[in-house]
């Protein structure tokens, strides 16, 4: 099912029977009467599905379309999968409540599943439940993929009622999302790509390929042990604090421009042999970064790579001590490792990441950190961070940035704003800003609802067949306005009682506020490449003499 374009308008035909695939999350009792919805022919239909799902966001029984006789081929597969796996699944389900047994109600009721498996069908990761219990289910996925492959085609997505199944093959790995959220197939694919990037970042693409070339049924979980939580966190962030992945942009810590510039200059001054990139971050948000000219020359760091690093250093694993670990930047070079030095700076919520090419440079990097630390102390940067926000718990990825109240637009609850008119654009890193999620978006379900709405609006704005510029959407519990121009991309969430005129007023106010604050909210003039210091630091004579990756 090779669909054109990334929105993956589901193509009919091709894999005929696949349209009728049942998802195991559906009630088994319904199975006889349920056939999947009609094949959607274009984006219009896709949107319709979206609104249906939205109207009944948590309804366990989807709207059922009985569309003629169905091919039961894949249904049988699912059924057998379910029954086969139940004996081994049941003992598991006691632990943690999410056994991963496809018959398990909790497991089925999850809104979105993400699976990673090897080409041979060996389970590697499942967001919920234990992968052992899912081996039969994963076998079905492999069967689907190879069935379509045997016809010289590649399966991209299956649309079944309110479920979307998105498939992504990356080398020897198969990634599958099974979702009944409002996310479009393109958005789900983006998430799968991020999951894959995460795996590559710990293992490199080359070593994954080598491992499976060497031994096809290798159990990759051995090597990924400990990384599952990182994947969980990544997938949770999509639903709990949307923005980064959706907009393909990083979030900055609001900071007065002189302070940020001074920090940028400081990072450029502090170098070490083999240093490629220095990043200051707070709770997964960017303060500033400096790229070393000699290493990453003429190569802009991909925002996805930067985001990956920000997520990575925001992890609680780095809460203590100084860490030294290999990390791969999948967009920059999926086959090579950098070596990362990560430390939380003394008595500050700030995390410093120093990325280098030399694997024995720990002590040089530690010395570099001390320079940065001293420099920051001299700048009084701690106070600046203190003023920005109260970072009571710096290890929390949701370290508060600012409140939506700061905008001073009553009725505005939340927004995502991504500037598109940044000076020196080709060198610039995409950024976005958004306030802290406050009431009523405190509980998980509410955040999910908001995330769903944002995803839905985003999909409409970026639809390849019928893109929109402006959407005013009245939902059940809030009103949303999404707007994309040549200068910005904006998603606002407003009180449900707002009128259309009121919404426009709020948005005008917000835009004015952003313009006033943009020097603080964004890195407007990103630091140029750092150059080897003219008056050299003691042990950093040059930065161009190390081998490449």
């Amino acid at each position: 099912m090779e669909a054109g374009g990334d929105t993956a308008a589901p193509a009919p035909g091709g894999a005929g029977g696949l349209e009728d695939t049942r998802f195991p999350g559906e009630e088994t009792d319904d199975s006889e009467g349920v056939h999947a919805g009609p094949p959607h022919l274009g984006d219009g239909d896709l949107e319709e599905t979206g609104s249906k799902a939205k109207d009944q966001p948590h309804s366990p029984s989807p709207l059922l379309h009985s569309e003629g006789p169905s091919s039961t081929r894949t249904c049988q597969l699912w059924d057998s999968a379910a029954s086969e796996s139940s004996p081994m699944g049941s003992p598991e389900s006691g632990s943690g409540g999410q056994g991963g047994d496809p018959n398990d109600e909790d497991w089925r009721s999850q809104r979105k599943h993400v699976f990673v498996l090897s080409e041979a069908g060996k389970p590697i990761y499942s967001r919920y439940g234990s992968v052992e219990a899912l081996s039969a289910t994963m076998g079905v996925m492999t069967a689907l993929v190879s069935f379509v492959q045997s016809a010289g085609d590649a399966i991209r997505a299956i649309y079944a009622e309110d479920h979307k199944l998105v498939f992504l093959q990356q080398g020897p790995l198969l990634l599958v999302a099974v979702s009944r959220t409002t996310q479009s197939a393109a958005q789900l694919r983006g998430e799968l790509l991020a999951v894959h990037a995460q795996i590559v970042s710990t293992l490199t693409r080359a070593s994954v390929a080598r491992i499976f070339a060497h031994k096809q049924n290798y159990d990759l979980r051995r090597l990924l042990a400990g990384s599952e939580r990182t994947l969980d966190r990544l997938l949770d962030s999509v639903e709990q604090d949307p923005g980064a992945l959706l907009l393909g942009a990083v979030r900055c810590v609001p900071l007065a421009r002189p302070t940020r510039d001074a920090l940028g200059a400081l990072l450029r001054r502090c170098t070490a042999p083999g240093l490629a990139l220095s990043v200051l971050a707070v709770g997964g948000r960017l303060v500033t970064a400096a790229q070393e000219r000699n290493v990453l020359a003429e190569c802009r760091l991909d925002p996805a790579d930067l985001q990956l690093l920000l997520d990575w250093v925001g992890a609680p694993a780095f809460a203590a001590g100084e860490a030294w670990a290999p990390v791969c930047l999948p967009r920059f070079n999926p086959d090579g490792f950098f070596y990362a030095y990560v430390a939380r700076l003394d008595a500050m919520p700030v995390c410093l990441l120093l990325l280098g090419t030399q694997r024995e440079a720990f002590h040089a990097m530690a010395a570099c950190r001390r320079l940065v630390e001293d420099g920051m102390r001299a700048l009084g940067a701690m106070r600046a961070f203190g003023e920005t926000a109260s970072f009571s718990n710096a290890s929390s990825p949701n370290a508060p940035a600012y409140s939506v109240q700061a905008v001073g637009a009553p009725g505005l609850r939340h927004f995502l704003y991504k500037p598109l008119d940044i000076p020196d654009h080709h060198r610039q890193l995409p950024q976005f800003t958004s306030p802290e999620l406050e009431a009523p978006y405190c509980r998980e379900e509410e955040r999910q609802r908001l995330s769903d709405l944002y995803h839905r609006l985003h999909a409409r704005l970026h639809s390849t067949s019928r893109p929109l510029r402006l959407i005013y959407h009245v939902a059940e519990k809030e009103t949303l306005l999404a707007w994309v121009t040549s200068k910005f991309e904006l998603y606002t969430c407003l009180s449900p009682l707002v009128t259309k005129a009121g919404a426009i007023l709020v948005v005008t106010k917000l835009l004015r506020w952003v313009r006033k604050e943009e020097d603080r909210l964004f890195i407007r003039y990103p630091p140029k490449y750092s150059t080897p210091p003219a008056t050299s630091m003691d042990q950093a004579p040059h930065n161009g003499l190390f081998p490449g990756l």
Partner: protein, 212 residues
């Protein structure tokens, strides 16, 4: 490597406390980071698996003398072994940690010992076997005697700890520190300096990658 990077070897400056390098080894989630965190920061929390290596320093006061421990907390995960082996080099002491509720982690600790023995001549490194998680003694799979017996057969120091309850944690590090000082006095500074040079250099101490 330590010397090359400007980190002084154990006998660099006479006035400064001696610096010793200690590595924590063992399979995943046996409590290596928890031991380090408890010892260095007197803190316990459920932490995620260590990424790569984590580095701590702590000055140990032992009556009249004091010494500085550079603690390398390595990741138990297999994927990081290649980078962690780097930090074998120049190590003066190693803690082989296992989880008393997991037999496999005990076996793994024995494997780590073999790895260590390949890297160092016997007696060069102070090795202590540490059975962690005594707070979970109801689920114990490795008896105290088993641990002790193995440790004695290999002439290792041995202790059981609970990082969670802060049971015997600082004792472990003090015991290692005491042993380091004792050996140093016995060997005398001259020999020790030679040993330090040998530690940093020898081609036989090539980094071994056991990953694949």
């Amino acid at each position: 490597m330590a010397e090359a990077q400007g980190s002084p070897g154990p006998w660099a400056a006479p006035d400064q406390p001696c610096v010793f390098k200690l590595v924590l080894l063992g399979s995943g989630s046996v409590g290596k980071s928890s031991l380090a965190l408890r010892y260095v920061k007197d803190d316990f929390r459920s932490i995620l698996p260590t990424v790569g290596c984590a580095f701590f320093t702590k000055v140990v006061e032992l009556g009249v003398s004091s010494l500085k421990l550079e603690i390398w907390d390595t990741a138990g995960q297999e994927k990081y072994h290649s980078v962690c082996h780097l930090y074998f080099r120049g190590a003066n002491a190693a803690l082989l940690v296992y989880d008393i509720t997991r037999k496999d982690s005990f076996h793994k600790a024995q494997q780590w010992l073999q790895d260590l023995e390949k890297e160092f001549p016997p007696g060069e490194v102070v090795v202590m076997l540490v059975g962690n998680k005594t707070d979970l003694s109801e689920e114990r799979e490795v008896t105290f005697e088993e641990g002790q017996e193995f440790a004695e057969s290999k002439r290792l120091l041995f202790m059981e700890t609970s990082a969670k309850l802060n049971h015997q944690v600082s004792e472990v590090f003090s015991a290692v520190a005491r042993e380091l000082l004792r050996r140093r006095k016995r060997e005398g500074p001259a020999q020790a300096r030679d040993a330090a040079v040998a530690l940093s250099g020898g081609p036989m101490r090539q980094v071994r990658c056991c990953t694949h």
